[in-house]
């Protein structure tokens, strides 16, 4: 039971970091609240695993302080931090039964036998492992092994946070959903702080209350899945989240209008004159619709039928973008028009979102 505070936590390899390039993790401030599920989302090498390992104590941060409920734990060893971690590949103790695996952390902490039996039974029941308690752990499937890894964390009642490092990597696709809903159920039942590292946006968005999007050692945005979808703070977030990602078009913005390669796009808000840096407008394909009515003229390159939805690859002037084809629309020829919802257009200066006045 804890809230985790990252106070200027950063990590650089090498003794004297010069520029941002020397940091695996740029110094950052974050507060993670008790009872919520967070996802650290980003491509490989973005620093998310480093951040996770700093919390679990496997990596000592070169900068900043880590607080669990206000107590400084920056230099405490892993075993005294009361965290549980589930790794990418299932880690189980081969020679033990499932029950032995679950009891292991308790035995190491010198709990009495009756207490161990009771805790193991409770945890096994929660994870659906009761049937296999007496089986050797090595005989089980990968998803059961991941449940055992999780169970070894959950048997301890003092556990402050559960960390997941891409736990579904080796699970069969069909079982991923099941295991993920198990994780969510456990989260609801136990009111624990959970931190989940992944590069899969579906996993992150379906699992977490709050998603932390990272790239190049930086936290770009922290928000609910809806916020990340509707109002990305950074072009990377717009592009990385959503399938396909946000359309980004170089533009000139003045007042309530953006000009993209000579075409005028009305905006929902008024913007201060932007002349410094690279200005782009971003809009998700979901809010760009092919239409028969009035709209911007585009060239249609290709229509992709994804079954549930049809996407049109189009060009607005010189710039490529993706638009949604309404279910009843008939596309003929390469000329078409698109309608863009002005309220869904965001303006970015040097990749950062600019708020309207």
């Amino acid at each position: 039971m804890a809230r985790i505070t990252l106070d200027g936590i950063g990590h650089a390899y090498g003794p004297r970091p010069g520029g941002p390039a020397d940091y695996a993790l740029q110094p950052l401030d974050l507060v993670w609240e008790q009872g919520l599920a967070y996802a650290l989302l980003g491509p490989s090498g973005c620093g998310k695993t480093t951040l996770l390992n700093i919390i679990s104590g496997l990596v000592q941060p070169s900068h900043g302080r880590l607080l669990f409920d206000g107590t400084d734990v920056t230099h405490l060893p892993t075993e005294r931090r009361n965290i549980a971690q589930v790794f990418q590949f299932p880690v189980i103790y081969d020679t033990m039964t499932v029950a032995g695996n679950l009891a292991f952390p308790l035995r190491n902490r010198g709990m009495d036998r009756a207490g161990i039996v009771q805790q193991v039974a409770r945890t096994a029941a929660m994870l659906g492992l009761t049937e296999v308690l007496d089986r050797p752990a090595r005989n089980l499937s990968a998803d059961a092994k991941q449940k055992i890894s999780l169970g070894r964390g959950l048997v301890r009642q003092d556990v402050a946070a559960v960390l997941f490092d891409e736990p579904l990597t080796v699970i069969d696709p069909g079982l991923k959903w099941e295991l993920r809903s198990k994780l969510k159920a456990v989260h609801r039942a136990l009111d624990l702080l959970m931190i989940y590292v992944t590069h899969d946006q579906t996993e992150a968005l379906t699992f977490a209350d709050q998603v932390v999007v990272m790239e190049g050692g930086q936290v770009l945005q922290v928000g609910t899945p809806a916020e990340l979808f509707e109002r990305p703070d950074h072009t990377f977030v717009g592009h990385f989240i959503g399938s396909p990602g946000m359309n980004l078009l170089p533009a000139e913005v003045s007042g309530m209008e953006a000009r993209v390669d000579g075409h005028a796009l009305p905006l929902a808000g008024r913007y201060a004159p932007l002349d410094a840096g690279r200005i782009e407008v971003g809009v998700r394909p979901d809010f760009v619709a092919l239409t028969d009515g009035p709209g911007l003229p585009v060239q249609v390159d290709r229509i992709d039928d994804l079954g549930r939805v049809r996407l049109a690859r189009v060009r607005l002037g010189r710039h490529r973008m993706v638009a949604t084809v309404p279910p009843d629309a008939v596309v003929s020829g390469s000329e078409a028009r698109v309608r863009i919802d002005p309220a869904r257009i965001h303006v970015y200066a040097d990749s950062r979102r600019v708020a309207p006045l």
């Binding site: 496997l58 892993t78 790794f87 020679t95 292991f104 952390p105 964390g153």
Partner: protein
């Protein structure tokens, strides 16, 4: 083209010829000797299974001698395994994981493995000598009476220390490779689970080392069961018969007494025992693997 052509056998013929001359003919010569009694002047007399019966009867002279040497061999193998396996594991656990230290340690450990057997024997014969050997003189200087040429315990001690010096590195290097194959996540999980050093060894490292240890024990058992050169150079099988192992006794019988028939029978039985042990190990290992595969 015909998919099946008997002329392909011609391609295998050279191999058959080599095996014939290198293995089958010498072995059959030994089989031939084992059923005959030899006298000078190349005279041979048919003796049937006589030598084998005598060999396996401990009350006869030949049988008693064989059993005693076999016993020494088994005790020797048991002792060196009991020392080299735990010691090798311990060394592997203490080895550095990377950097120049690892390179230095690897080279130093590989050195004994690269020394030829008879040179190992010679090194220890001199090193352990009571009068001029560094080790032998030092032990005597401590007030302990140590002379491998005259005292059976000292001779055994020397032969065992020599084998440990020569071969512990092998076990250590095998175990080191096994340890390096354990993913870091296991150690991290163990830290999170609050496991102490012993618990990590007992529950993670030892189970993962099982396979390399089986191979290591097999190699060391077979090798020590056939040991000849090193004790022969150091003690010559003495004092008395104290360090006369099977192979040393075999040479005494064949080349010392020129009892070709007895020696041939003994070498066949000796060979059978080695093969039997190999077969048992091999079966055990493949079944272990099969059981593991069924599981995964």
């Amino acid at each position: 083209m015909k998919p099946y052509d008997n002329r392909a056998w011609l391609l295998v013929l050279p191999v058959f010829a080599v095996v014939l001359f290198s293995a089958v003919l010498p072995l059959m010569t030994v089989v031939n000797y084992s059923v005959q009694d030899s006298f000078g002047n190349n005279q041979f007399f048919w003796n049937g299974m006589g030598w084998f019966r005598e060999l396996l009867d401990p009350s006869s002279e030949l049988g008693g001698r064989f059993l005693a040497a076999l016993g020494r061999n088994l005790v020797f193998s048991g002792i060196i395994l009991a020392i080299e396996v735990p010691l090798g594991i311990l060394v592997a656990l203490c080895m550095p994981r990377r950097g120049w230290r690892l390179a230095v340690v690897m080279v130093v450990m590989a050195l004994p493995l690269l020394v030829p057997w008879n040179v190992v024997g010679t090194i220890w014969q001199v090193f352990a000598r009571a009068d001029i050997g560094l080790f032998g003189a030092a032990v005597n200087g401590l007030g302990i009476d140590y002379n491998y040429a005259g005292n059976a315990t000292a001779a055994w001690f020397t032969v065992i220390i020599m084998d440990v010096w020569h071969w512990t590195s092998l076990i250590a290097l095998l175990c080191y490779a096994g340890l390096r194959a354990i993913p870091d996540a296991y150690y991290q999980a163990a830290r999170i689970d609050g496991a102490g050093r012993w618990a990590v060894f007992r529950n993670i490292e030892l189970p993962k080392l099982k396979r390399v240890l089986v191979i290591g024990v097999l190699l060391r058992f077979i090798d020590s069961f056939m040991i000849y050169t090193e004790p022969f150079v150091v003690t010559g099988g003495g004092p008395g018969n104290a360090t006369t192992f099977l192979s040393i006794d075999l040479v005494k019988l064949a080349l010392g007494q020129f009892d070709l028939g007895k020696a041939a029978a003994m070498s066949l039985v000796y060979n059978m025992m080695t093969l039997l042990v190999c077969w048992v190990f091999f079966t055990a290992m493949t079944q272990l693997d099969a059981a593991r595969e069924r599981v995964e």
